[in-house]
Symmetry: C2
Subunit: 369 residues, 2 copies
């Protein structure tokens, strides 16, 4: 990918209102980041909503800032982009990476769990991480307090590779107590990864995007100590939706910190006591699930979609089919008697207008807002 195209994609990714799914659709539609940037005013003429890319100088400043930290951008479509992330419907358009960027395509296992973990839970996470790295896997987690930090420490102490996915900007370590751990991960052969622009203060609302990257990077996810309705369970659900294996460490029913992990086992997660339990059940590649086939075979696509001719009223017909209940894109095409490329084209505009949002499983729904 040429430096100019990388720059264009970074600029497109940093455009307000262009999320990961829209980014992917724009590149698929227009063939390149540069072409997609050029096409934004055209979309605006149909959607009534202009997405203005940030000034080039702002993007250059972010690039220089990351270079000063010793980091690199990894852009969707570049070689070295983690192949398992390409199975997501909404792969991150851009990842900022500190440390060894070459380990991101390696086989990884996630180890996540409660922030308010018990000493026993932290010890289990450390031992699991050590065992997994000794088997040649990288251990991926979210740099949070408790289980996440223990997993990173366990990998480092075993001289293994570990990958931290953070929610805020890569220059804003969070929590502050783990700033040293983040630096150590980057310095000792691991990698720190963020989808957020430099300088983004980490906030709770960024956690779902962080969790989907953890789930998307790994072949399997181990949940150690998760209370009922905790964030780790959301990551586990995302991993299942992405056809990854889910593992959970059991605990006493008297310990509320184990309610979520026990429930995962009840629902079919592999009961896990040691790294061997993970290794025995880890596939070479994600299982193929009907819900979730690889979204991106070649990226950018080898052939651009043919120009489509929209008839007046087609857009309204499509929008009418879409309510707050998710509906399959295939169903829309069939029920509107429109071709798939026409429906895709209309949906891209509807997404960019903010009326419609994409959902897993090639489904769409009216935006909540």
């Amino acid at each position: 990918m040429s430096p100019a195209e990388s720059f264009a994609r970074l600029r497109l990714a940093r455009t307000d209102g262009i999320g990961p799914t829209t980014f992917r659709r724009l590149i698929e539609r227009h063939g390149s980041g540069a072409a997609a940037l050029d096409a934004l005013p055209g979309h605006a003429s149909r959607t009534g909503r202009l997405h203005s890319p940030p000034p080039s100088g702002e993007v250059e400043r972010e690039m220089a800032g990351l270079a000063r930290l010793g980091g690199h951008f990894l852009i969707l479509g570049q070689p070295g982009y983690p192949p398992l992330l390409l199975l997501l419907e909404d792969p991150p358009p851009v990842l900022a990476v500190l440390g060894d960027i070459t380990i991101l395509p390696r086989r990884q296992v996630g180890v996540v769990g409660a922030r308010a973990a018990s000493a026993g839970g932290r010890r289990i996470a450390e031992e699991l991480a050590a065992g997994l790295t000794m088997a040649g896997l990288a251990v991926t987690s979210g740099l949070a307090r408790g289980i996440d930090a223990a997993a990173h420490f366990g990998a480092l102490n075993a001289h293994g590779r570990t990958i931290a996915v953070v929610a805020g900007g890569i220059d804003m370590p969070y929590p502050a107590e783990n700033a040293g751990l983040q630096a150590r991960i980057a310095a000792e052969g691991g990698a720190v990864v963020s989808e957020a622009p430099l300088g983004t203060a980490p906030q709770a609302r960024h956690l779902p995007r962080r969790n989907r990257i953890v789930a998307g990077l790994v072949l399997g996810l181990v949940v150690v100590e998760a209370a009922a309705r905790s964030g780790s369970l959301i990551t586990a659900r995302l991993a299942l939706e992405a056809s990854r294996e889910v593992f959970a460490v059991p605990g006493s029913p008297l310990d509320p910190r184990s309610a979520g992990s026990n429930d995962l086992i009840r629902q079919g997660a592999h009961l896990t006591e040691t790294a061997e339990d993970v290794l025995a059940n880890l596939p070479e590649t994600p299982r193929d699930m009907p819900l979730f086939r690889p979204r991106i075979a070649a990226f950018p696509p080898e052939e651009l979609p043919a120009e489509v001719e929209l008839a007046a009223g087609d857009s309204g017909k499509v929008l009418e089919m879409i309510g707050t209940t998710p509906v399959a894109v295939d169903d829309i095409a069939r029920r509107c008697h429109l071709s798939a490329p026409i429906v895709q084209s209309i949906l891209l505009d509807l997404e960019m207008s903010g009326l419609v949002e994409s959902l897993p499983g090639n489904r769409v729904a009216r935006s909540a807002g």
Copy 2:
């Protein structure tokens, strides 16, 4: 069943060398306990080993002793004999019962586990037992220290029914510290059950027979805290072989007392935190497994097997087929070109001679001794 026939069966059951399987086969062959007693010398003429029933006076003394304790015998073939025990290949010929004999045919769940249980494990066993009895089930266990005792206490404290199966004579409470618990179970609407004659000192070698009765009485068995290779796991295996549901309470991988129960879950036992987990997975009747169909449809059989004519050498042919590796009775019949009744008749004699022993799944093997 007439008092004379009950007496004959009790006497046959108390005959040295006549175990549960041989008892069942003798009744099936001869139609009654009295006829089986009469036939013992005839078997001896073929096997060279005479099984002498105890003098009637000895049996009368045991009956009087049990009556003095306020107990009753429940004899295989009597109404009120627990129907699920009839699914075993080796149902106990006789049970001595203290307390309410009428609860034995009721739906039961077993709760068993480690003697050296943690305080948490005992609390879980108590709560499970309370919840199960409140749902109308009787809770069955083995009166041992730790989890067993906690299960009995939990049921009693919830004003529920509980059944203790003991390994020694019913007049020899073991461990001594649970003598009061045994008396309370019998006095508060529960039952204490033993297959052993009165006065039998409990020994470790009796535990497998005790465990098979626990497994045989229940629709489901919950294992709370079981170390690797512990007795509770043997009971769980017996329950599986008898097509009963197996449940296990998870625990931390750092606690060796949970290694066995976690392993049961890994092998497919229902992960169990509360009584609801049991109730949601408890069938009305045991699952039908190919390995283990009901052995006894009508007992005693409505029709006696026809007299069989043994040719010289048939017995030797059958014995030649039987090595230390278990072999199916059906295979023996086919490979010896003998009818099933002839093979059954020969096997009964071989068992009574001590050369051959019966195994689950209608298989036999050379006796180890």
